[in-house]
């Protein structure tokens, strides 16, 4: 069972969390100006990297809040967790790079 460090509550077992999809996906300011392709891409196209991946998690059986996490999809180790609305921590490799 994974251990996930909620930035508000501290490390908790995986059972308390729910996955929330890719992080840092900004909703277009004015969707009506977007082409169908761009809108479709915003809605459906997500990265699926092998290696580090910035994603959202929700501490659903705890504080209930969303936060962001950097998880290596090959090893399931979390490189960092950080509050929603804050940028990705400096010094971590880019998406898709492996943590090793």
């Amino acid at each position: 069972m994974l251990i996930i460090a909620c930035p508000y509550c501290g490390p908790r077992p995986e059972l308390e969390f729910r996955y929330g999809g890719e992080a840092h996906v900004a909703r277009p300011v004015d969707p009506s100006t977007l082409s169908d392709e761009d809108w479709g891409a915003f809605l459906y196209q997500r990265a699926n990297p092998r290696g580090l991946h910035a994603e959202r998690w929700r501490h659903v059986h705890g504080c209930g809040r969303f936060f962001n996490a950097l998880r290596d999809t090959t090893t399931d180790f979390f490189a960092a967790t950080y509050e929603t609305g804050t940028p990705r921590p400096a010094g971590t490799p880019a998406d898709g790079e492996t943590s090793r």
Binding site: I3, P11, T75, F77, R100
Partner: protein, 565 residues
């Protein structure tokens, strides 16, 4: 003949507490501290089971959890019956009821043994090719009959009457295995005051130390030192000791599954206690001290009762004070079996000969064996054994310079010890997704790249020799405590007085390969085509350099998300 093969003194059994049990309905006696295996051997019983298909007679091979043959059913009634337990792991208690499996009508006279004689007529897939007609008879008649004839234990006839519980726990350092490396690691790790859990599958801490006859640690006999180290650990408030506890699973982020057998060793247990307890333990750092398994050697009819691993023979003699035989032949490719031979000799067992596959053996133990007057035959192979329900004689044949096997000579014996070197036990490391690397010098896979926050220590990473193992265990335990946030650097000189066997370098490399590919020689001693010994890789000077990579860590991330609880 109760306990006819029990030595008059010695061993770690409690002679003041005799124990009665039954095996296949026959009354037997043993002592507290015995396993079912050692008590049966003390009664002179080597035949313990029948093989799966051909019903070949099978005896004890090992003395621990690596036992492949001695599977028995244990339980006072159907609701407490457990099939397929290893007799080497069943602790003796008053009133234990054990039965052999896969035989009819009795273990000594097994009708299924006819399969062994018919074996040449039974090619692979025989059943499916032969029992084809009438078509319906396969499911209704043939298959049930074949299934009844094969198989091992039977299912219990009543629902399980026992209770089982589970337990969640956290610790900074978990040490798996309570042998020399594990005890040293726990001593070092607990020095910093962090929570340490030490678990071992046996009833007593000490592992291989409990089978030592001469080795001394800190001025004490090895087994005594193990007891003292365990007592020292028990006195520390931050240490949890778990005996009879098997670490069976390594789950992500250092969650370890432990199975603690709470009441299996008690004849009359407190009804409030569960039978087993499942621990789900979250450790910040894990030190794996799983030790190594001795390898058997492959030769014709090496499954006869009375053929044991050398270290198992040593354990029965030194730990349980049991003579596993009266006249032994030792077949080896390593120096460690010479130590076993000398231990047997000290217990009054005649060692008829030591057959060494290697062309020469000049280490300290072979020298001692020669000095003791044992018939040491280097460059010699065992080409076969005979005896119906127990080994009666072994065929020893010289290996010539060109690799061919010479004329064999029968040597009478009722015990054959074999040793083909050691294989590090890397199961838990592999479960943690760690990568192994082949070490040609040791002829074994060793832990290489770790994924989880764990490290291996001692024989399970190819470090042999008591002094080196203790030092390695201590260093890894201290390193684990530091990695888990400890600040102290414990220092302790674990002075050892023991003669090393030199398991590495010149030991188990070529000869096992040579015998594995050697053709089956006929019992008349005819010369057969040569097994190649010259094509094997040359020995390297040192093994230690390659083991240093066992602790290599990924460079990134520098810290991982780990529990702080």
């Amino acid at each position: 003949m109760s306990g006819a093969f029990r030595l008059p003194s010695g061993g770690r059994i409690d002679r003041s507490r005799p124990v009665r049990f039954t095996f296949d309905g026959r009354d037997c006696r043993g002592f507290a501290g015995d396993t079912l295996a050692s008590a049966l051997l003390a009664e002179g019983r080597h035949l313990i089971g029948r093989s799966f298909k051909y019903h070949r007679p099978r005896g004890f091979l090992s003395a621990g959890s690596d036992e492949p043959n001695a599977l028995v059913g244990v339980g006072r009634d159907e609701a407490h019956y457990t099939p397929n337990l290893r007799a080497t792991q069943v602790e003796l208690y008053d009133g234990l009821v054990a039965e052999s499996q896969n035989r009819w009508p009795s273990l000594d006279l097994d009708v299924g043994g006819i399969n062994n004689l018919l074996a040449p007529l039974l090619p692979a897939g025989f059943y499916y090719k032969t029992f084809m007609w009438p078509k319906k008879a396969w499911t209704s008649f043939y298959e049930p009959k074949i299934r009844a004839a094969a198989g091992l234990g039977r299912s219990p006839g009543a629902a399980d009457a026992d209770r089982y519980t589970q337990h969640y726990a956290h610790c900074e350092v978990l040490v798996v295995g309570g042998g020399p490396a594990g005890l040293a690691a726990a001593l070092a790790a607990s020095d910093s005051g962090q929570r340490v859990v030490l678990c071992d599958e046996q009833a007593e801490f000490g592992g291989s130390l409990l089978s030592e006859r001469q080795a001394m640690i800190e001025g004490l006999p090895a087994a005594e030192w193990a007891g003292q180290a365990a007592a020292e650990l028990a006195a520390r408030a931050n240490v949890t000791l778990l005996t009879r506890t098997t670490a069976f699973g390594y789950f992500p982020h250092n969650m370890i599954g432990l199975c603690e057998r709470v009441t299996d060793h008690l004849g009359v247990a407190d009804p409030r206690l569960p039978r087993e307890r499942l621990w789900q333990l979250r450790a910040r750092e894990v030190v794996i001290c799983a030790g190594a398994h001795e390898r058997p050697i492959v030769f014709p009819d090496n499954d006869r009762p009375g053929i044991l691993l050398a270290e198992a023979g040593r354990t029965y003699v030194n730990r349980y004070a049991v003579q596993p035989g009266t006249r032994a032949v030792v077949f080896t490719a390593t120096d460690s079996a010479y130590r076993a031979a000398l231990d047997l000799r000290a217990a009054g067992i005649k060692v008829a000969a030591i057959a060494d596959l290697r062309p020469e053996a000049n280490g300290p133990w072979p020298t001692m064996a020669r000095k003791a007057g044992i018939d040491v035959r280097t460059g010699t192979s065992v080409t076969g054994t005979s005896g119906r329900l127990r080994i009666r004689q072994a065929q020893l044949a010289p290996i010539r310079a060109d690799g061919s096997v010479g004329t064999s000579e029968p040597v009478a014996c009722d015990l054959l010890l074999m040793s083909g070197g050691f294989t590090p036990s890397v199961h838990l490391f592999s479960q943690s997704r760690g990568k192994l690397a082949w070490n040609a010098n040791l002829g074994a896979y060793l832990p290489d790249v770790s994924v989880e926050a764990e490290r291996s220590a001692g024989a399970c990473r190819g470090v042999y020799g008591l002094e080196a193992v203790l030092a390695d265990g201590f260093a890894q335990g201290a390193a684990a405590a530091r990695a888990a946030g400890g600040t102290t650097s414990p220092v302790r000189g674990l002075a050892v007085k023991a003669t090393d066997c030199g398991h590495d370098a010149s030991s188990a490399r070529r000869p096992t390969a040579a015998i594995a590919c050697s053709p089956r020689p006929s019992s008349t001693g005819r010369t057969t085509s040569p097994p190649r010994t010259s094509s094997l890789p040359p020995a390297r000077a040192s093994s230690r350099s390659s083991t240093s990579s066992a602790t290599r860590r990924p460079a990134w991330p520098p810290t991982r998300a780990r529990p702080r609880t």
